[in-house]
């Protein structure tokens, strides 16, 4: 297992889970996707759990921002409750639907099923993105159940040397919930918009990373992917 890089992270050890927190939920979804895709390599498998953005919308966003995106090795758990038609070239993407995002038993089982399919298809390591964890946290009464689900996901990620990105809207939760999510993760990325309207990010909890607020743009993430 070797380290992978994804702007702004210079070196991500295999099996890391990272939170991404910051701006509006829509921007956060886009950024979290971008971080997963920028870290991915062509042989990797991808599993996304999407709670607010329909799976076709998620696929469109991936393709628009990341030209080398491989939908064949992508699996999605769509928890939006929306049933729409898929574009003809996306009908082969394996999508599991879940109507109740608070049903962590079903979510965990579907995650296991898709993860195993990627292992069978030899699309490993697996990179996963939960977009967004905020919606799950809002729907589950006992925080311990969410932690158990995340630890289970984390176990698979660590065992196979993958990467996990958990998108979380800082403003939607109390300090204790945020602190608990951070304690589960190996580190994280905080994003903000500065006074001049430019995006900046700061890395938490990971060694060998640039400290402090660093300006960046979405195009930097996309360029990295297309290279």
């Amino acid at each position: 297992m070797t380290s992978r890089s994804s702007f702004p992270l210079e070196s991500i050890a295999p099996g890391q889970t990272l939170f991404v927190t910051g701006p509006s939920p829509k921007e956060l979804a886009e950024l979290s996707l971008a971080f997963v895709l920028a870290a991915s390599e062509s042989s990797d498998g991808l599993v996304f759990i999407t709670t607010d953005l329909h799976s076709q919308g998620l696929l469109d966003l991936c393709k628009r921002n990341h030209p080398s995106f491989n939908s064949l090795a992508t699996k999605i758990i769509d928890c939006t409750g929306q049933h729409r038609d898929y574009n003809s070239n996306d009908r082969n993407v394996e999508v599991e639907h879940l109507s109740d995002v608070g049903d962590l038993t079903a979510l965990g089982i579907k995650f296991s099923v898709l993860y195993e399919h990627l292992i069978i298809e030899e699309s490993t390591p697996v990179l996963s993105g939960i977009i967004s964890l905020t919606t799950i946290l809002e729907q589950v009464e006992d925080l311990r159940n969410v932690v158990r689900f995340l630890q289970m996901s984390d176990g698979r990620i660590k065992a196979t040397g993958g990467l996990g990105i958990y998108s979380i809207d800082h403003s939607a939760h109390d300090d204790e919930t945020i602190s608990t999510v951070k304690q589960i993760c190996d580190g994280g990325i905080e994003v903000r918009t500065n006074g001049e309207g430019d995006r900046e990010l700061r890395v938490h909890g990971l060694p060998e990373q640039t400290g402090g607020w660093t300006p960046f743009s979405m195009s930097e993430l996309s360029k990295l992917d297309s290279g």
Binding site: D103, V147, R148, M152, G155, R156
Partner: protein, 310 residues
């Protein structure tokens, strides 16, 4: 070599033997204690008799479902890792009933299923992958640090009781305790008030599970009913715990092996000076633990160093 107790519940006796054989072969670097049976009732007896690290179960059992079995195991052993290993497809059972547990799932479908099961079991045994609480970094070393002290000494417990008396008096609270957070439980080695009658609690139900993760070693909960980590735990109020402050017991290597805590029956806040005072008392408690361990090692070399066993 790491040790692990595996319980496999399945009516298919042939498959039970195959799984046993395959796990022994693929997990030969782990000292496995493999138990197998076919009903919820038999499995309950096993769970009551020993600590199970990993439970593998079919969904359809003669006297109940795999979900019922997992729920039973979690009630008794909250940290157990579980795998639903079944012929039932993932869309075929209802997960909307109340209190259905979070679990790993593997369908018995393809030829390499048992190999994939072995990989999952390895993950569940080697990583804390179904715990319901965050763990400190390097928890294994922290647990080893606990074992380096003689924490069972009656003399030590009496000394720590005095520390809790001082803490309770200073903060005018009815209950205080000195706790050790071991692999699966919170154990009380010093107590004042109601804590004298407390039994060890699962780590997932202990507030101190979070205190040992605090950077500055002190954690305050002004009102457990308004804290997202504890608000669903009505048993805390039953114990007379509404407000809490805890300070860590830190080794010289920086591992937090436990806490000194005070508990109030009403919501309250604590000042910076309060935090500093409890921090100081916790440091004294840790010095007592170190001191007693050294004395015991000198006085009773045949016992000293055996450490803390639960």
């Amino acid at each position: 070599m790491p040790e692990a107790v595996i319980l496999y519940v399945d009516p298919d006796t042939t498959l039970r033997d195959q799984v046993h054989e395959e796990l022994q072969k693929r997990l030969s670097d782990i000292d496995l204690d493999f138990e197998a049976c076919e009903t919820v009732t038999e499995a309950t007896s096993v769970v009551d008799s020993k600590y199970i690290d990993c439970l593998i179960t079919e969904y359809e059992l003669a006297d109940g479902s795999g979900f019922e079995l997992i729920r039973m195991a979690r009630n008794r052993r909250p940290d157990v890792g579980t795998v639903l290993f079944t012929t039932v497809g993932n869309d075929a059972f209802s997960t909307t009933e109340e209190e259905v547990p979070v679990t790993e799932y593997l369908e018995k479908a393809s030829t390499d299923t048992i190999a994939r099961l072995a990989r999952l079991v390895r993950t569940l045994v080697m990583l804390p992958s179904q715990r319901s609480y965050p763990l400190p970094e390097h928890d294994e070393e922290r647990l080893a640090a606990i074992n380096s002290y003689d924490i069972e000494s009656d003399d030590l417990h009496r000394s720590l009781d005095r520390i809790t008396d001082l803490a309770a008096h200073h903060f005018a609270v009815p209950t205080a305790s000195v706790n050790i957070i071991d692999e699966h439980r919170q154990c009380f080695i010093g107590s004042h008030g109601r804590a004298k009658s407390w039994d060890p609690t699962p780590r997932e139900e202990a507030i101190c599970t979070f205190t040992i993760l605090e950077d500055d070693g002190v954690m305050v909960v002004q009102d457990v009913t308004k804290d997202s980590r504890f608000e669903t735990q009505s048993e805390l109020e039953d114990l007379g715990i509404r407000a809490y402050m805890g300070a860590t017991l830190d080794t010289s290597s920086g591992f937090s092996i436990g806490t000194l805590c005070i508990y109030d029956e009403e919501p309250r806040s604590f000042s910076r000076a309060d935090r500093t005072y409890l921090r100081t008392l916790a440091d004294v408690a840790m010095e007592l633990i170190v001191f007693h361990s050294h004395v015991d090692q000198k006085e009773t070399p045949s016992i000293g160093g055996q450490g803390y066993h639960t």
